[in-house]
């Protein structure tokens, strides 16, 4: 029997530029999550604040944010695994509750990427790789995933059309998600003819920077049942890491950290991939979603391209994936992304996903990756 549940979720719209401070941005997501479960700030016993720190001038943003949210004197901790920070926050919140230290914990993820100029942001990107052996050559996030994409194509015959299909699917659902940044359906042709960023990845193969915040409130079983009639239980948690330096990696056809995190999560939940009714995967690039299908066991290695091309990951397929637009459709405000994925799965399992509702969704999965396959978190939820 699982003993920690998600009781409240909130998210701001993801936008190109939010125009407010990170404190004000987080307040909006936190307020929505509190209203979702009828709690007040004083009832939150601890918080985890998740983001990538290089985008803010405020050092130790956790202190600034919890003050603004009315979360003093409760403890808070800043947590970072780059793009996987949000689900790491959920993993730690789970452990803080399960360990008996706290009963109700809030996980707040945010990023205001518009805070920096484009030049400043590109400079940060250069330092996201191994600064000793990889950054001196000009490695970027798209280039890193492009190395995987080329290897996947070479090894399995995956095509640029199959990758483009991922973006087509994302844009289809993003237009039905009012909190998504990208509000226009794009065609296969548009994806394939967009300008090359790092071959074989093109403009529409890449997710976009965004501003946004998300909030997930977790509670112990006893508290959860008092707070809500629709707790969503965390039944599986997996987490793993991969060498940062490209030279020390053993595979370029999939993310080892995702495979390992998935193995742990399935084992803890006592389920198999086929039991997953709805999933959110980390599609920072189109190839990343295709590898996610394979690394999560939704198909065999090499069959990911076919899976999306055959429509199996659409809302009515065998494995509905990113039925909220994903990172490609919603935008990718680094620290807020994991919490947004959890929010979507929680709404799906509650049956509150509206026009994006997947039928008979009882088991949901979140796959959240940090860096170029550097950190992998997989969470499994059950209603």
């Amino acid at each position: 029997m699982s003993e920690v549940a998600v009781v409240g979720v909130g998210q701001t719209a993801f936008t190109r530029s939010c125009g407010v401070t990170i404190k004000e941005l987080c307040f909006e997501a936190f307020k929505e999550a509190l209203e979702d479960c009828n709690l007040y700030p004083k009832e939150i016993e601890a918080s985890l604040i998740c983001s990538a720190p290089e985008y803010d001038k405020q050092r130790s943003p956790a202190g600034a944010i919890v003050e603004y949210l009315g979360l003093n004197p409760q403890p808070t901790t800043y947590v970072e695994n780059i793009c996987a920070s949000g689900t790491t926050g959920v993993r730690l919140a789970y452990s803080l509750i399960k360990s008996g230290l706290h009963d109700i914990v809030a996980v707040i993820g945010f990023q205001k990427m518009s805070e920096l100029t484009s030049r400043e942001a590109q400079e940060r990107m250069g330092r996201g790789a191994d600064i000793m052996w990889d950054s001196p050559f000009g490695l970027t996030m798209p280039a890193g995933y492009a190395l995987y994409a080329r290897m996947h194509m070479k090894t399995y015959g995956t095509t640029e059309e199959q990758m483009a299909e991922v973006k087509v699917k994302s844009s289809k659902y993003a237009v039905l998600n009012p909190k998504a940044m990208f509000q226009r359906e794009v065609s296969l042709e548009e994806v394939l003819t967009s300008r090359v960023i790092s071959s074989p990845l093109k403009f529409y193969d890449c997710s976009a920077n965004a501003d946004g915040a998300s909030c997930v409130i977790l509670a112990s079983a006893e508290k959860a049942r008092k707070i809500t009639d629709t707790p969503v239980w965390i039944v599986g948690i997996g987490s793993a890491s991969e060498p940062l330096s490209m030279a020390n990696r053993t595979s370029f056809v999939g993310l080892n950290c995702a495979v390992e995190a998935a193995r742990q999560a399935y084992k803890m939940a006592g389920i198999e991939p086929k039991d997953v009714d709805v999933a959110e995967v980390h599609d920072c690039f189109t190839i990343a979603e295709i590898m996610a299908y394979e690394n999560l066991g939704f198909c065999n290695p090499g069959e990911g391209g076919k899976l999306v091309q055959e429509g199996q990951t659409y809302i009515d397929g065998d494995f509905p994936v990113n039925i909220d637009g994903g990172l490609l459709g919603k935008g990718h405000p680094i620290g807020a992304t994991g919490g947004s994925q959890v929010r979507t799965i929680v709404m799906q399992l509650r049956g509150d996903a509206g026009r994006l509702q997947v039928k008979r969704a009882e088991i949901g999965l979140v796959h959240n990756i940090g860096g170029i396959g550097l950190y992998g978190n997989v969470l499994i939820f059950r209603r």
Partner: protein
Amino acid sequence: MGFEKFGKISYIRETKVAPFVDYLEQGKVMATRCRSCGKMYFPPRMDCEQCMTSDNMEWKEIVNEWKILTYTVSEFAPTGFEDDVPYILAIAESAEGLRVFTRLSKDVKEEQLQSDMKFKLAPVRLPDGKITYELQPLEEG
């Protein structure tokens, strides 16, 4: 000190493996090998993660014959590298099983890349006096 000479932009000044740059200036691309357990490291390091021994490494020349595993043509660069685009980044594997992430020489065109083509890792002096390495076609024979 010493490592700041490595790469177009080097973010690191101080490291135990700074001699790597000195070897590079002598035309040699070196790995390290643990004297305690024999494990070989490329990129080099002075601490052995296998037997947890520190500073008991020897510098060792590599077998300089590489094949490309995967590559990308980057049309987009981090701050400071803008003038270089497009450039080809690649992962290559050596005859003795080491791996490297680096750039391909500008002389190599994407069309030339074939799976059986062999490369060597060669030091390259940059205009400002810094030094790096890149993959260059290996002359047969």
